[in-house]
């Protein structure tokens, strides 16, 4: 995969996600990073060739649910897959994100195996 956008307000978590993808054997040419949904939207406007978005749910300014809603007003789930990554497992916000058009959900913390299982389908 050429380009993935990682949206998380924790720079450490963004670093962890990049490393776990490598450990999971999921090759990515370039990572883009954003600290919240608003920054994520800006990144997508500047880089329309992003192929997959991994996003946290709880973030300042624009959370993951609002981010998914904003993206889905322009791009379908087939055009740009979005996977939520959060500790919110079982929470109403996860359901809201899925109802808004997120393609899937991965619970934090995660292992290379769980990441591989969730993301492999998008790596063709």
């Amino acid at each position: 995969m050429n380009k993935i956008l990682i949206v998380d307000d924790s720079s450490t978590m963004r670093k962890i996600i990049m490393r776990v993808l490598r450990q999971a054997g999921l090759h990515v040419e370039e990572f883009l990073e954003a600290g919240n949904g608003a920054e994520g939207l800006k990144s997508l406007m500047e880089s329309p060739d992003v192929e997959l978005v991994l996003s946290d749910i709880n973030m300042p300014q624009m959370d993951g649910v609002a981010f998914v809603q904003a993206v889905r007003s322009k791009l379908s789930a087939e055009q740009l897959p979005m996977i939520m990554i959060s500790t919110e497992s079982g929470n109403s916000k996860v359901q809201s994100a899925l109802d808004s058009g997120a393609n899937g959900y991965v619970s934090k913390p995660f292992t290379p195996d769980t990441i591989r299982a969730a993301l492999e389908p998008y790596f063709g």
Binding site: S10, T12, K15, I16, R22, T87, S89, P109, T111
Partner: protein, 187 residues
Amino acid sequence: MQRWSRTLASPRQCETGGSPPAIPSFEELLKALEESVADVLNGVLIEFESIEEFRDSGHPSASGDGDGGDIGVAVRFDGLFEGFVALRCYAGAAEYIARTLLFMEPEDEVSPEDVEDALGESANLVCGTLKCRTLDPVDTFSMGVPERVATKGSGGDDAQMAFQLPKGIMTVELWLQDGVCPKGESE
């Protein structure tokens, strides 16, 4: 000035209008915290063992001599309650967490920033998991960014639970603002 305590205000002290959210007891919160820590450690494949009755274990960090370890971080939260979760670690345990959580290779050098970042993210994960378990029944929860907290001279005796990791001990504390009531209610 904020006052922090280790117990909850009785719900009876709150003049509640309407139906207040279910309020867990402090013991229930501690149990949920212990389960949250276990979830996070299991989730990142860190082997651990809970140290039962830590305060009576005779471990130096439980002796009340004020030695809380080598590094400590805390994450503040605000929702049904206002408070913070603190993790304190000895250097070996902190480096082990950093290596594991950051997926570092054996030949990678662990920097002090890596250690602080990893422990901070661990506190984030624990607090986030605790939130899902018990702290957010009214969906108003917010969390701060991890902050460095004092360790030596600040009280290993404050630890409510401790976990033996492969390279040392990690202790965990839960503090709540004194006299706290459910949000939207007045004392």
